[in-house]
Symmetry: C2
Subunit: 303 residues, 2 copies
């Protein structure tokens, strides 16, 4: 599909893209760059690409598709580094969890003769690094593209086909809308999980070890999300500040109401809330975005 | 191990106990009672017991072990109902997620010649009802017993052995301490999950359907917990009010600090918090309280 694809950054998403591109034959040459010598050596040992370099500018030379797979906080620097080496007509995309900031960091720094089509595959695990990737990560998942209205239709179409070949369904929306929706579905849940695990982490040693011991009563679910990559998530919150604070405000209001209901012993309010939340779970299972098995199928994983 | 065990209530925990007692040969006769004719008929169709009755008093006649598997809000009523029919020397226990309230609801209403040993198996799924049980639910999980200091040692010891034969490890602590630890590990996570899914549920229709669609970015984890039984959880919050409000207070303080760090763009604070939470996840996996597989092993469940 492409003669040469450059992956700038080779963590969970970058390495998964490498695996699926190999499996589907989407790139003749995969060129990989990383800022870290250690990560790059690991990617090379795993055979994730054909070319390996610490210099992102070198990696993008002659590439038809450049996929920036770094934390969103370094997108501006990446754009500046690769700009002089980009091939005319190249498609430049990314996989960041925030989109408006990526546009404002990258667009002004790229030459006019390349096509910036920001993207976000709604897929991931709590693991990070080049060892954590696998070819099926994007299967049955959504990938959101947020091109500007002036962006070349063919470039958008080609990137859409690329993600479909990776197993995803593609949705196109504005960067601002993406950032609001993801603030609810992703950024707030991560924030809350980090916060609740942080609260537990601050407990006295004895209590903390009991929390770990009895975590199967609910807490352990939160620790999975709170084990996600710290650098990536720091950058998400720094770069989607307004939408996150807006959604956090709603969450806090609702929590105060719930707190008052508990204090007052308002069983009817609690029952009504706890009933309506079941419907959302059912919808998610129906559209195939989660497994129906109890406890996410943990038992199957243990066997 | 017992001639006759009575299960008062036959939801997820009751039916799982039935399965594991059968598998391990722990009871010659299993007597089941439910307040609902429909549930009782379903339990009978599933062959979960030997005797079935709508009258809890009838179910406990001649039982050596009585396990109350109802929502904690009806424990007092159950104690009053079964008290006149209990055999002298019977062990009476329960499986509720709150313990101090269970003691104060049941102890004054039971005859002096039976042994109340409250219990709480730290095990469950998001499903409820007699169809949802399975024999391995308690395997490698903890079961906490919270007897009074004056409780008969033999009764405690016998119940401990029972739970060990069900696959659990047993820990003994005071009811008050149990309620504080579970407020952190279980009640707060459920409260937060219900709240965040409730916030999403209140969004305008278009946004809500997008939240469901893109739920794989984190939100879907919360919906599993928020799909738990509404009656059971209403009762938990009504009956562990003080500990829940205390822990919720700490959580809210921490969340305010985190909110301010985002507003101020304090990346160092965010990075430090997001790093230390990873350690807790690692500890939970090390002690075997969760699976190591990415995304809880959802991929294995799908295959």
């Amino acid at each position: 599909m492409f003669d040469k694809v450059a992956l700038i950054g080779i963590g969970l998403i970058g390495s998964s893209l490498s695996h699926v591109m190999r499996r589907e034959g989407l790139a003749k040459t995969i060129s990989i760059s990383s800022r870290s010598q250690e990560t790059l050596a690991r990617a090379q040992a795993l055979g994730l690409g054909n070319e390996f370099t610490l210099d992102a500018g070198e990696a993008v030379q002659d590439a038809d598709l450049v996929i920036v797979c770094t934390p969103v906080g370094v997108c501006e620097q990446v754009a500046k580094t690769i700009a002089p080496s980009l091939k005319a007509g190249a498609i430049v995309t990314d996989v960041g969890s925030v989109k408006a900031s990526v546009v404002s960091q990258m667009l002004p720094n790229l030459p006019d003769n390349v096509h910036l089509v920001p993207g976000h595959p709604i897929a991931g695990t709590e693991y990070s690094g080049p060892d954590s990737g696998f070819a099926s990560l994007f299967e049955n998942r959504w990938c959101i593209l947020t091109p500007e209205t002036s962006t070349d239709r063919d470039a958008i179409s080609k990137l859409k086909t690329f993600w479909e070949k990776c197993g995803s369904q593609v949705e196109i929306m504005t960067a601002t809308h993406h950032d609001l929706v993801l603030a609810i579905t992703s950024h707030l849940p991560h924030l809350i999980a980090y916060n609740i695990v942080g609260t537990a982490s601050d407990l006295e040693t004895d209590t903390r070890s009991e929390v770990i011991k009895f975590s199967a009563s609910g807490f352990r679910d939160f620790t999975r999300i709170a084990a996600s990559d710290p650098t990536m998530w720091r950058d998400v919150f720094l770069h989607n500040k307004e939408a996150v604070l807006e959604i956090l405000g709603r969450f806090s209001e609702d929590l105060s109401t719930l707190q008052r209901a508990i204090r007052k012993g308002d069983g009817e309010y609690l029952f009504d809330l706890f009933s309506k939340t079941r419907d959302i779970r059912r919808s998610i299972i129906e559209i195939g975005q989660d497994v129906e098995s109890p406890n996410f199928g943990r038992h199957e994983a243990e066997d």
